[in-house]
Amino acid sequence: MSSLLECQTLTKKYGSLIALNNVSFTVERGRIAGLLGPNASGKTTLIKLINGLITPTSGTVLINGQKPGIESKLKISYLPDANFLPEWMIVKQLLNYYSDFYSNFNINKAYDMLARLGLNDKMRLKSMSKGTKEKVQLILTMSRAADLYCLDEPIGGVDPASRDYILDTIINNYNENGSILISTHLISDVEKVLDDVLIIQNGCLYMHKSVDEIRKEHNTSVDGFFREVFRC
């Protein structure tokens, strides 16, 4: 049986700049993989390639054996690293939007999560704080019973209390038959939820191991290992 996510010799160039260089790896079903690396290492580029938002210079991305397209977009739930929802929309419009296009979107689950945060569906995005907008984006992403969740820096730029809320939301709401690819450089916060680690450095895949292997082989936490490798 093929892997849920398979990247084969993936390269992305912007002119002479190589953003991603010959990256190959697989993510199996049911795994939570951390995509780690310093800033500008190629994490967002890789996630965009998986989501079909940019096209590779060479190599292929396969999601459940298929190249990025209509089918894969239904299977992947993507959370970008920036506010991407139209500011003029109210929450109810967003919920209807997701309901209309994604057959795997669970609107009741979304309403539950909103209620727990004290948000109502009449609220307009424009009137929300940056943190609240991020939480709404996360709720929309995690209310889908997707095969693969691609979360790009979901805890970047938020306070520690919000980080806990975000991680709890992810862990309690993802489709357990699927997988999560979570990109971050805040390793200590996510380490506890990860099964596997993919470390990217200067566009190249530096390491792909399970968290247990790293701990066993290097006798340290993933965060400790990362700090050792990328010491300035």
Partner: protein, 268 residues
């Protein structure tokens, strides 16, 4: 999915355009009523303030009409730009729909708004002229023009149908041209709007050059044919059909460029 895309496209554009058209429909009777009152005994004094207000009313109506036309196009193009090229496009391009569905939905809504805009502007003009009491004169003038076209020049319903089709096609092609420029412009990393401007100018120059060559060729063919015995109606049809075919060819090319770039070279 196409129906859902069209529905949401309407939602996104209607909040601006419905206000715009509503304002236009309110401005027309207000300005016309003041100008009408100016001619009654109530406000007929040769007062500088009333005179200025009358000029202002006329100016407001004219500016509102022009602004409505321009703003409609800007709102529609801005919607395309925001949802296809900027950060909002993360949402658009991760929907489980095809690129052709995205483009067709946007084009359909753009076209419908354009037609609604033309209708609203016509109704506003009708209200404005009607209140001022000039409708009969306007109708007479228009009827005279129609009689001249039909009786003197032989303009018939076939010509009219063709003219309507050509207008519809030219509206669609104008939007497709902008879409192609957006698609080309988005390839420039970090400067998609600048890319759009440069691409639009580039496309315009190319289309102008090709049009001039084609028009010269067309004139050459026409002058070598014995057209002296042909009626206005026939010559009109030949001109419109050739222009229409030319426009359709551009439209198809712009659609292919937009499709290919957003599908094969997406760079968000």
């Amino acid at each position: 999915m196409l129906g859902k895309l069209i529905k949401h496209e309407f939602t996104a554009t209607s909040r601006m355009l419905s206000i715009l058209f509503g304002v236009l429909l309110v401005i027309s009777p207000i300005t016309a009523l003041y100008m009408k009152l100016r001619n009654t005994s109530l406000l007929s004094d040769n007062n500088l303030f009333f005179n200025l207000l009358e000029i202002l009313c006329m100016a407001v109506f004219c500016i509102a009409m022009i602004a409505a036309g321009i703003t409609t196009v800007i709102v529609i193009l801005n919607r395309f730009y925001q949802s296809m090229v900027t950060r909002e496009s993360y949402l658009t391009h991760t929907l489980p729909v095809s690129t052709s569905q995205l483009i067709i939905s946007k084009l359909t809504v753009a076209f419908i708004w354009q037609i609604i805009g033309i209708l609203v502007m016509s109704v506003s003009l009708r209200i404005f002229i009607g209140i001022l009491g000039g409708w009969d004169e306007f109708s007479r003038g228009f009827r005279g023009f129609i009689i001249y076209m039909t009786d003197e020049l032989g303009f018939n319903s076939g010509n009219l149908s063709l003219l309507i089709i050509a207008t519809i096609v030219s509206i669609i092609v104008a939007y497709l041209k902008c879409y192609a420029a957006f698609a080309l412009g988005h390839l420039i990393n970090g400067h998609p709007f600048l890319g759009f401007i440069v691409s639009y100018i580039g496309i315009s120059i190319i289309t102008q050059i090709v049009s001039i060559v084609a028009l010269t060729l067309f004139n050459f063919i026409m002058t070598n044919l014995d057209t002296n015995n042909e009626s206005f109606s026939t010559l009109f049809n030949v001109s419109i059909i050739s222009g229409l075919l030319f426009n359709i060819a551009w439209g198809v090319l712009f659609y292919i460029i937009t499709m290919a770039l957003f599908k094969k070279k997406l760079n968000i």
